[in-house]
């Protein structure tokens, strides 16, 4: 250990505002990236499920069908 007490550790030899703001921002942004990626994946899976269910219902009852606009993703080629 480079520090004898916990207070000394938090004080960082008088450099606490600099050290902790730099580390705090880094921790916040890394954690934010992880949480965002997780929320994004969950939302897309929910959307996919809803869409597959809806299309299943339409297949079972074609009379209710309305034309669905398919998003090709904007790609001109389909490699």
């Amino acid at each position: 250990m480079a520090f004898d007490t916990l207070q000394e550790f938090f004080a960082m030899g008088g450099h606490a505002p600099y050290v902790w703001s730099a580390w705090g921002l880094t921790a916040a942004l890394l954690l934010g990236c992880v949480l965002h990626a997780r929320a994004e994946r969950r939302q897309l899976l929910r959307q996919l499920e809803r869409r597959v269910r809806r299309e299943g219902r339409l297949a079972a009852d074609p009379a209710r069908a309305t034309p669905i606009q398919h998003d090709s993703g904007g790609y001109t080629n389909d490699a």
């Binding site: 250990m1 960082m12 030899g13 880094t26 969950r42 959307q47 869409r51 597959v52 490699a79």
Partner: protein, 246 residues
């Protein structure tokens, strides 16, 4: 090489292989960043000149490395996308950009707060600092450009071109400290060269750098998988994923 490029043409193959790879990179990132944090913050000895403010190096240097590496990755994936029309590469480039911008911001911010006790100033129009600020604007430009087109194909091309042109800034950042030596010191840490620091300071830095790279790979794999769900939702194999475990 060619076999690999051809496999990259299949988002289905990538979705399957990345599912197997991503837990390892997430685990490595957690382990390395966790170890590096505890070692760097609590166990590495204080610098004899800078005291404890030097502990900022453990976030500053890995973030700065990643900020530059992610831009180079975006330029390479942009080139591969333009030449071979490989969609996965464009998805990866799109998913990397916000992390690259975040890393550039961390490098600039941690450098500024480190500068106050060390240099007596948080900012100077030093070549290294200025070229890193330009890098941040390039990232924001790439992100904005992607959002500015209604056609995804045009957006992808424009973002690829900007990444390929903007990558010129990377060697400028790298050599800025040697060409114009004003404020920022030359590199004290390289992966290959001899360390200008004692082992107890250098080892946690290496661990943090490796941890940040693992984090980048893990996050990109996870987000490209999401992007595949977004862009390929008309494909039969993607529909079959609905209802599976998340």
């Amino acid at each position: 090489m060619w076999a690999f490029i051809n496999k990259l043409r299949s988002p289905k193959w990538f979705y399957a292989i990345s599912a197997r790879l991503q837990p390892w990179f997430w685990a490595a990132a957690l382990l390395l960043i966790g170890t590096g944090t505890i070692w760097g913050l609590a166990f590495a000895p204080a610098d004899y000149q800078q005291g404890n403010s030097f502990r900022i190096i453990y976030v500053h240097v890995p973030a700065a490395f990643l900020a530059q590496s992610i831009f180079v990755s975006m330029a390479i994936t942009g080139l591969v996308f333009m030449v071979w029309k490989i969609k996965i590469c464009d998805m990866a480039a799109a998913m990397m950009a916000p992390l690259g911008a975040a890393m550039t911001f961390i490098a600039l911010f941690s450098g500024a707060v480190w500068g106050v006790p060390t240099w007596g100033t948080w900012w100077m129009w030093d070549a290294r600092l200025t070229s890193m600020l330009i890098l941040l604007f390039l990232y924001l430009g790439v992100i904005a450009l992607r959002g500015a087109f209604t056609s995804r194909d045009s957006a992808s091309r424009a973002a690829s071109v900007l990444a390929m042109v903007g990558v010129i800034n990377i060697p400028i950042i790298k050599y800025s400290v040697d060409w114009w030596y004003t404020l920022h010191q030359p590199a004290t840490f390289t992966i290959t060269g001899r360390a200008a620091m004692p082992m107890e300071m250098w080892a946690p830095l290496l661990i943090m750098v490796l941890g940040f790279y693992s984090f980048f790979i893990a996050l990109t794999l996870t987000r490209v998988r999401s992007e595949i769900l977004r862009r390929e939702s008309n494909k039969h194999w993607v529909r079959e994923l609905a209802g599976e475990t998340r």
